[in-house]
């Protein structure tokens, strides 16, 4: 896109990453502890209040899987090492 930069935001609404992050936190199940304003300081990236549940990122992953056309991967154990009988039990050193 050459003229993309100049055209961008000349129409339609702007994208606000901060609002996006806020919405994501809610979606991931942020447990907001108490009043936000108190701790919400820029130095901490505004990330001190509340905590995310353990499965927060799994929750987001499950919802956003449909955005990805990722190929599933094949995993196996047989064939990942040489098929040699276990060496007779003796130590080299």
């Amino acid at each position: 896109g050459k003229e993309k930069a100049s055209q961008l935001f000349s129409e339609g609404c702007a994208f606000d990453p901060t609002a996006f992050a806020e919405h994501l936190l809610s979606f991931m199940g942020l447990n907001r502890l108490e009043e936000e304003e108190e701790n919400d300081e820029l130095q901490n990236g505004g990330g001190v209040d509340g905590f995310l549940p353990k499965d927060a990122w799994h929750r987001l992953a499950r919802r956003t899987e449909c955005c990805f056309k990722t190929a599933p991967t094949f995993h196996y154990m047989m064939g990942s090492f040489y098929a040699e009988p276990p060496p007779p039990k003796q130590k080299s050193d």
């Binding site: 609404c13 806020e22 919405h23 990236g45 990330g47 990122w57 899987e65 955005c67 990805f68 190929a71």
Partner: protein, 225 residues
């Protein structure tokens, strides 16, 4: 071409099938970590003496991925000749499956980064990404419970997998970097689906981001939907 044709005449069909199977197997093994396969590596490690019939073998491998696995073997980065596997089915098998499929939390992380880049017009300074991630309790300076060394995951792993491009901005002091979508993201990720979820999150019509909406639906890049 005729050279390939002559090469094939010297081989039995079974030999060609066997070599094709080895190529398929090699690509599946490499895909375990989502690292693209370089053609040079493929030829050196697997194809070996069959290099004259390489075009025929890769054609057959493509057909097998499509017909048996529902996957597409695509060449990205035509300059360096690299291959990746992309899903050919409309919805990923895991998404709607009645049996429990494990989810990968890195998908969520990747989604956040790719979304910000896309919504911001295609290029984003790295600080913008780190700031957004920090709000999500992911700090590149700290070990994360789920992702470990986040900076490494984002600037090395995602880059090697070709989900992201991470390049130095020229003439900046101190040095600054910026992010773009990588070739794999172009092939794998649906901008329309991103906007769909974006709309849901903001309780807003996806069409209200008109620029991005147009990009997602005219297919100005190679991604589908």
């Amino acid at each position: 071409s005729s050279q390939v044709q002559r090469g094939l005449e010297k081989l039995t069909p079974a030999q060609v099938d066997q070599k094709t199977a080895e190529v398929v197997q090699y690509i599946l093994v490499k895909d375990q970590k989502k690292i693209p396969v370089r053609r040079a590596e493929l030829v050196k490690n697997i194809v070996k003496d069959y290099r004259t019939v390489y075009p025929e073998i890769i054609k057959r491998a493509k057909r097998i991925f499509e017909q048996v696995f529902g996957l597409k073997l695509v060449e990205i980065d035509p300059k360096n000749h690299m291959y990746i596997l992309v899903n050919n089915l409309d919805t990923p098998a895991a998404a709607a499956s009645p049996v429990k499929c494990p989810s990968n939390p890195k998908t969520g992380l990747l989604f956040v980064i790719l979304s910000v880049i896309f919504m911001k017009g295609g290029i984003v300074r790295e600080n913008q990404i780190w700031n957004t991630l920090k709000k999500l309790r992911v700090d590149p300076g700290q070990r994360h419970e789920e992702f470990g060394d986040v900076r490494k995951v984002v600037t090395e792993e995602f880059v090697r997998q070709r989900y992201l491009e991470y390049t130095r901005i020229p003439h900046t002091e101190p040095i600054e970097y910026e992010f773009r979508w990588g070739h794999r993201a172009d092939m794998e990720v649906s901008k329309a689906q991103i906007l769909e979820f974006m709309g849901q999150l903001h309780e807003q019509d996806p069409r209200s981001w008109s620029q991005q909406y147009r990009e997602a639906h005219t297919g100005s890049s190679s991604s589908q939907n």
